[in-house]
């Protein structure tokens, strides 16, 4: 049996020698045809091509990433993509269970399929796809990054975002917007932006004092005779979801009237096509598209959704390209009379083992990792089951963190933020420092232990629940539910704030949580400056816990029951 990697490399060598194509070769992978050519295969259309990436979260190397099995839509988004998971999702998009597409886009049989199809992503592979598309469509492409690109790994944390700026620069993006980028603090963001050879667009960020623009809002490009306006929209709730003290002079917000003004101006300035490069989150953009007129395409981000087709809302095409470097989207547009007359779209899965590495990008990735490589590769334990984070209510990696917080801090209850970044580990995989940092590397990582009343705990859960499940998407902040250890509860997503959480019981003894009683609560990632930055970083505590256990065996938990009316 030929080794998968050897096979692929052999194929690529043949390709290089023959100067031909990989087509015609079948990979050894489960008898499925996945080749670089097959992934890139595209029926070119119209004058221009938009290439979209986003939410890379500093995952420069290939990773496993399990898509959510729980992703509830509320209000008008009920039952619509991206709020379809599992078999329902496969059915909706006509994807065969067990196929490469199912593995890339779905959580069904994830652990098994991961062993068959291997890792996804790797920015040297992403670079290969981008380069190939550009080669096919010279002077017709824009590469647009919807942000959350500079945070999420140890190397990014240590270089305060600079590693990702260097790696991405190799692909020559045309614009970026932001969210976690801001968590390096205002001064550092400005320094990083100064290193870019392309604009950081964020038309919805204004100064708190005088309400003046902080960043460029719009950039006009000309490709193949078409004038393309790209308007940037940073994550509207950055100062609410992340520490406002890090950028105290900047105010965000959805500001759809301001978006309309930018779009109207772009049209007046002669734009043939208007693109919103957005970090709003998918459901927010779905609503925004009904309220702002004149946007042709929204390249969405923030909510980490991977949707294999475009979603058309009010003549605006919404694109959702997943996260962690797992996908590259290609959207070809045929523009006639300042309107989209036709388009073709493909969400390209980045199968790490079949896409050739771009050697120049590999070199930069290796260089940025070199000072930390030994430490990053250190094995601290092994996992028996899949460790994942994505899902509305819980994930096994967060269960691990919540359990470690309780054990190490001797607390009754633990809380961990519902971040959507952080790749997965598959059954039997070693856990390295790299893997641990991929879940925790951020600038306010300190653990805390505090006393909260039962009433206060309920308020916190209700508050975060409303950020996730408010029927009006404009009130959704795009994270998942705060992860909870030591406490079981039921949650009805369809209810209103104050009424969603019921049946709260301590898992330790099955007793009801009492409103007036005080409980010790351990957590991390407070947006308060002292609490968030002055204590022990969470990775130290979790590392110790994993090292103690050697093998971790976290099964999917059922302490949180989610219903949807």
């Amino acid at each position: 049996m030929i080794d998968r990697r050897d096979f692929i490399h052999a194929s690529l060598a043949t390709l290089a020698l023959a100067g031909g194509s990989l087509s015609g070769y079948r990979s050894a992978i489960a008898g499925q045809k996945i080749t670089q050519d097959e992934i890139l295969k595209f029926d070119a259309k119209g004058q221009i091509t938009l290439i979209h990436v986003g939410d890379i979260h500093s995952q420069a190397k290939p990773i496993y990433f399990r898509e959510p099995s729980v992703n509830i839509g509320v209000g008008e988004a009920l039952g619509l993509p991206p709020h379809l998971t599992g078999k329902e999702m496969l059915k909706k998009f006509g994807i065969k269970a067990g196929s490469p597409q199912a593995y890339a886009l779905n959580s069904e049989d994830f652990g098994q399929l991961a062993k068959t199809y291997g890792k996804m992503g790797g920015l040297d592979r992403v670079a290969t796809l981008v380069k190939a598309i550009r080669a096919e469509r010279p002077n017709k492409c824009l590469l647009l990054d919807s942000g959350d690109t500079w945070q999420g790994s140890w190397t990014s944390l240590q270089t305060r975002g600079e590693d990702m700026v260097k790696i991405m620069a190799m692909m020559k993006p045309d614009a970026i917007t932001g969210h976690w980028e801001f968590t390096y603090g205002a001064e550092r963001v400005k320094e990083l932006i100064d290193m870019l050879e392309f604009p950081f667009l964020a038309g919805n960020v204004i100064s708190t004092e005088w309400e003046e623009p902080v960043f460029e809002a719009t950039k006009m490009y000309e490709r193949n005779g078409v004038k393309i306006a790209v308007v940037g929209q940073a994550f509207p709730y950055t100062p609410v979801a992340n520490p406002r003290w890090m950028f105290p002079d900047w105010s965000f917000g959805i500001r759809d009237k301001m978006v309309q003004a930018h779009v109207t101006k772009a049209r007046a300035d002669g734009a043939d096509v208007v693109v919103l490069l957005s970090h709003n989150g998918f459901d927010v953009d779905r609503k925004l598209a009904t309220r702002v007129q004149g946007i042709d395409v929204i390249l969405t981000g923030h909510t980490h959704d991977a949707i294999p087709t475009t979603v058309n809302v009010n003549n605006t095409l919404l694109v959702a390209s997943g996260c962690s470097g797992k996908f590259v989207s290609r959207l070809d547009l045929d523009i006639k009379d300042k309107k989209v007359a036709g388009f073709n779209f493909k969400l390209m899965p980045v199968f790490s083992d079949v896409i050739a590495k771009d050697a120049a990008v590999t070199k930069v990735i290796d260089e940025t990792r070199a000072p930390y490589e030994k430490h990053l590769n250190e094995v601290i334990g092994t996992t028996t089951n899949t460790l994942f984070r994505r899902g509305n209510m819980s994930g096994t990696f967060d269960d691990l963190i919540c359990t470690a917080l309780i054990d190490k801090q001797d607390a009754e209850i633990s809380l961990s933020p519902g971040f959507r970044w952080g790749p997965s580990l598959i059954p039997g995989q070693d856990i390295t420092n790299d893997d641990l940092y991929n879940q925790t590397a951020m600038t306010y990582p300190s653990v805390y232990k505090l006393d909260f009343t039962g009433k206060r705990i309920k308020e916190i859960l209700e508050d975060v629940g409303d950020n996730l499940f408010n029927k009006d998407p404009y009130f959704q902040q795009g994270g998942d539910m705060v992860r909870v250890g030591g406490l079981a509860f039921d949650m009805d997503a369809s209810k209103n704030i104050g009424e969603r959480i019921t049946n709260m019981k301590l898992t330790r003894n099955g007793k009801d949580l009492e409103a007036g009683k005080t409980y010790s609560v351990a957590g991390w990632a407070s947006v308060n400056e002292d609490t968030g930055t002055k204590g022990t970083p969470v990775w130290e505590l979790v590392r110790e816990w994993i090292k103690d256990k050697k093998t971790v065996d976290l099964k999917s938990t059922d302490h949180i029951k989610l219903t949807n009316g």
């Binding site: 959350d148 969210h179 976690w180 708190t208 309400e211 994550f235 709730y237 100062p239 609410v240 979801a241 992340n242 520490p243 406002r244 105010s251 965000f252 917000g253 959805i254 923030h302 809380l415 933020p417 519902g418 971040f419 959507r420 970044w421 805390y448 505090l450 909260f452 206060r456 308020e459 916190i460 508050d463 975060v464 409303d466 950020n467 009006d472 404009y474 009130f475 902040q477 795009g478 994270g479 705060v482 704030i497 609560v521 957590g523 990632a525 407070s526 947006v527 308060n528 609490t531 968030g532």
Partner: protein, 157 residues
């Protein structure tokens, strides 16, 4: 942007204080005594009973969906109206349904104001409705109610 006399009823409501509530720590003020009822009572007093017949429309209040900082929330208001001696906006009152007290601000205009626009910052103790009422020179009243969320925050992403 304003040509008007601002009468600030409670100066404290416009102050920015340090040390905002943070993720899971600190929290909401428990001293929020204003309610929809006390807010309505205050409006009745301020409008000498006119609030009861207030209609929707004309007055626009621009507030964020979710406050970034409950201690200093930007508010902009405008009333669609001519500003002539015959027809103008006399005043706009802003009232809280969830602060320690319902009083927020009253803005008085004259035809010389040119426009009935105003901008200010206010403090919101918790998620609540902000009610604005415009009194016109012909004795009509217009009302607008806007909900602003003040969240614990800290979990997005």
């Amino acid at each position: 942007m304003t040509n008007m006399k601002v009468e600030v009823l409670d100066r404290r409501q416009f102050l920015v204080t340090a040390g905002a509530a943070a993720a899971f720590i600190g929290g909401f003020s428990s001293a929020a005594n204003a309610t929809p009822e006390t807010a309505a009572a205050l409006l009745k007093e301020l409008t000498k009973g006119g609030a009861a017949g207030a209609m929707e429309g004309k007055i626009k209040i621009d507030l964020p969906e979710i406050a970034e900082n409950g201690n200093t929330v930007p508010v902009k208001l405008s009333v669609e109206s001519p500003m002539t001696a015959d027809s103008y906006v006399k005043s706009v009152h802003l009232v809280s349904e969830g602060n320690p007290g319902p009083e927020m601000a009253s803005f008085h205009f004259t035809p010389a104001s040119g426009k009935a626009n105003a901008a200010a910052r206010m403090r919101l103790a918790k998620t609540q409705n902000v009610v604005g009422i415009a009194e016109m020179s012909d004795g009509k009243f217009y009302v607008s109610k806007t909900q602003v969320k003040v969240t614990i925050g800290g979990c997005g992403g």
